[in-house]
Symmetry: D2
Amino acid sequence: MPGAERTAIGIIGNQGWIDESPFAALRGIREIIHVTKPYKLVGRDFHPSDTVIKIDDKTKIGGKNPLVIIAGPCAIESREQIFKTARYLKRLGVPILRGGAFKPRTSPHSFQGMREEGIEMLDEIRSKIGIKVVTEVMSPEYVSSVASRVDMLQVGARNMQNYDLLREVGRTKNPVILKRGLSSTVEEWLASAEYILLEGNRKVILCERGIRTFETSTRNTADLSVIPLVKKLTHLPVIFDPSHATGKRDLVYPMAQAASAVGAHGVMIEVHPDPEHALSDGSQSLDLKEFRKAYARILQLAGFIKKNRL
Amino acid sequence: MPGAERTAIGIIGNQGWIDESPFAALRGIREIIHVTKPYKLVGRDFHPSDTVIKIDDKTKIGGKNPLVIIAGPCAIESREQIFKTARYLKRLGVPILRGGAFKPRTSPHSFQGMREEGIEMLDEIRSKIGIKVVTEVMSPEYVSSVASRVDMLQVGARNMQNYDLLREVGRTKNPVILKRGLSSTVEEWLASAEYILLEGNRKVILCERGIRTFETSTRNTADLSVIPLVKKLTHLPVIFDPSHATGKRDLVYPMAQAASAVGAHGVMIEVHPDPEHALSDGSQSLDLKEFRKAYARILQLAGFIKKNRL
Amino acid sequence: MPGAERTAIGIIGNQGWIDESPFAALRGIREIIHVTKPYKLVGRDFHPSDTVIKIDDKTKIGGKNPLVIIAGPCAIESREQIFKTARYLKRLGVPILRGGAFKPRTSPHSFQGMREEGIEMLDEIRSKIGIKVVTEVMSPEYVSSVASRVDMLQVGARNMQNYDLLREVGRTKNPVILKRGLSSTVEEWLASAEYILLEGNRKVILCERGIRTFETSTRNTADLSVIPLVKKLTHLPVIFDPSHATGKRDLVYPMAQAASAVGAHGVMIEVHPDPEHALSDGSQSLDLKEFRKAYARILQLAGFIKKNRL
Amino acid sequence: MPGAERTAIGIIGNQGWIDESPFAALRGIREIIHVTKPYKLVGRDFHPSDTVIKIDDKTKIGGKNPLVIIAGPCAIESREQIFKTARYLKRLGVPILRGGAFKPRTSPHSFQGMREEGIEMLDEIRSKIGIKVVTEVMSPEYVSSVASRVDMLQVGARNMQNYDLLREVGRTKNPVILKRGLSSTVEEWLASAEYILLEGNRKVILCERGIRTFETSTRNTADLSVIPLVKKLTHLPVIFDPSHATGKRDLVYPMAQAASAVGAHGVMIEVHPDPEHALSDGSQSLDLKEFRKAYARILQLAGFIKKNRL
């Protein structure tokens, strides 16, 4: 397509993403504009209908299913702490417990999680208490061993582009929560999900958890507009984590409601029986009573929204 | 307060912000940490109760008052366009019409607004149609003249730190919508509001409209978590502009609902009778029918939320 | 240009920037990609050779001319302070003195500058001491009056998109230093320069002064790579301000050297006779002796680079 | 330390970083300010003198040693390509060859590197050609096997917070280049280095490679001011990668010179014998002749700077 001062050349008929490198280096190329996206399996072009992931008989994430709430402490700190939380949440009707056993921490001098021991507790909890459990995996080598003892896996923001890890969780059959990286674009996030789907695991749940910006009055900047945006681009479910996105206890409840209003398929909330003694992220955790109150209101609003969808 | 390797020195008893410069330059100073904020009049310390701004007999912004909706085109483009929109919105019950006469545009080669002529139209509309009008001012010299012909003034994101402009709108009696700058922190935003209050005008409405981040799939990144955050810091009302925050028509309605859920006192939405022929921001404008549908739903959700406050 | 699933439509033969709005709002448009830039006069397409701005008989900024150094305090604080600095710099051979009379400050409770009185001092200094002077203008209404009493004008980062101000400095004959906005892209920066050139003033000097990012260990993030980049896009000279870019006295000298190595046409450095008592930005100011030492080294490196250009 | 409206409480006498979580969650805490840094071994407090890492008899990185240049292709693509480059660089006197065998790529549909086969080639090159080799490791499980066949290891930006990987390279004896994460603060970067040192490997070389910001005219934003800043905080050497930082061939040479001027201990430059046919990052690679020319100039400037240090 000739122009006054430059010529546009289009590559047409391609099936899927084309690596730009061979073109980028050609002399005379001013700019390369991708029209095709760096993913295919996660896009709606080849899979227009919503992916719905069944968690248990009553709980499904995605599509038109009701908002799913995942709750629990940032880190498993003791047998007492995690069992107490699990029992409380189970009684309330929360379907999924979160709890970190392997903790990625900025400083090697911070608490690193109970690791193996924590995984054992989660396994015990799911059989004894009957709540589903999700936990983070950080290294490819632990994936299969952890996958057999928990219901769902989580890939954290810091590991969103740890491709060997993505491939490994792609080889399990567990649903995988894939958190958005701190400074990852929507396109990169979906391309990371593509790594998992390509290995055969199609049960990926995307989770927005705030991005890093210049603003420091919140821990991260919650980017809620990506929720309706991503729902157009992909068939995968999308949930929101108001605890990490804001880092402030007072903002967790209002932002959970906002996520619900904007169409999130679920919210993941940090709850701790004793936030004042939490070893990690206490300042953004609700205590059990605060959570109970918020939980009732979240379900109430979600119910209203479901009935009155535009 | 002596430490092992450094000494902390506290300045106590001060009333209000202390300029750090004289201290910053002293040799031996490693870091200066402000505890006092760079504003005083806008903070809750000296004015704990919510500021409520009366717009007309039925419309008040702030406090526990119902969500207020402001709507209209990005720019006034013709007599027909702005009158048609004003009449339509008036019929729906929208209390405030927005319409830009002076348009700040990145390129001098883009449409710059109808300027004086646009202001005249707004003045005519408010008397003939009976809807309140708000418009942006860009230069101190026009402020008093514009202020006499419109109901409310707006200071845009690009001018959030145009201090002479802030002082000038501070000398009017009109309510002022102060948009957050593209890369302004919450603290800077509130300090800019302080400029207005210091001149005597206390009717400032803060408006979040998205910040600039690395993400390019939306025009800006809507930072909704600042709404509950700012409501704790200041007594001033806070509204949200989903049109500029997202830049995408499809995201305007869901984000307006999210803002309502998170506690915004109002939302400002771009509406154009014929977005396909808009001279500015057509891609983020709703047409009249889309707006009517969204408007009904927004009021519905806002009503539900008001009844069921946590 | 038909593709498998979408069609690319090119607009060709246009002279200059096309406003995207009328196209953006058309249904069926997925994405609009600008090939033409939002500026024309500042680009090299129509003005391939470097603009060189003559300051005095020995000093020219731009093209292959030697690195120009501008120095002085952030703010004029007293007659003694500014005269002492001016005399010292004149003796060293520094051609241009900077000194702020109108100071844009985040908080209205911070020192706002000596305003008119400061301008008077600058006028006196240039006639009595014989050093050229540059100062910031913040409002259109003051521009012509200030322009007659100083040699060069500066538009600060906060006002880079204050379009009425840009137009007003565009109507003067003074060289104008246009600082890059805190979160402005290169394209926006050049489009702002276009506003000035369009009014007839072609003596614009672009000044990189750091952008706002997530990193807080420096005041801003110095984006030095834009210097060689911008030199390819525009014929205008480009200088660097290491004082504001870093906010730390220790980083000023090394970053000034880096700017010289990367091809800047000049550097602007904050110098204060007594940084420990500066009313503004003392922590990033060099004292007179530190400056003298740095100055000699900067000239030395600049000389070496000039002789050994790639 | 009592204040008018709040009380400051200091924790003194601590040796090293204190985890904030137990304090953050206490009711009544408004803000927690760390004075101690989240690292200890990498800081200058306990190790004031510069770490110097010996690469071969003539090459040392760190301290007052001459600028070290590392060069080579982004990815190893064929035996011919990497051997040709290695021989060319060896002849020029470049001490270290870079070449990626395991490539982290955003899209799973892009070229992923030659993996094992590439490592074999590097091993052969170092014995046959006698140039030192550095390559990236992406997963803990490959580290020890790769470490035995190359001279230096690299941890890429995407893996800067892959803590199991950091621990694993910390158990080798190879020098490790630790790239700064795309959106990592200086503090997080140094805390990641601490993970490596804690395992016993003190030969860490920090590498700035650009951060992610709103600016899209360069691939990343080169943050050169961190080089002098980090040199004050840590005893470890700091190098710069102008190829990834800018993503543009034309900017590589000027930014390498700027890094040298600002005090970097080394620069790492992408060189490809045939950039037009590179499978990865061709647009930011120099060809052999461009590199030879740049190399001579870089050494020349580095020599001048060494002689004329401030």
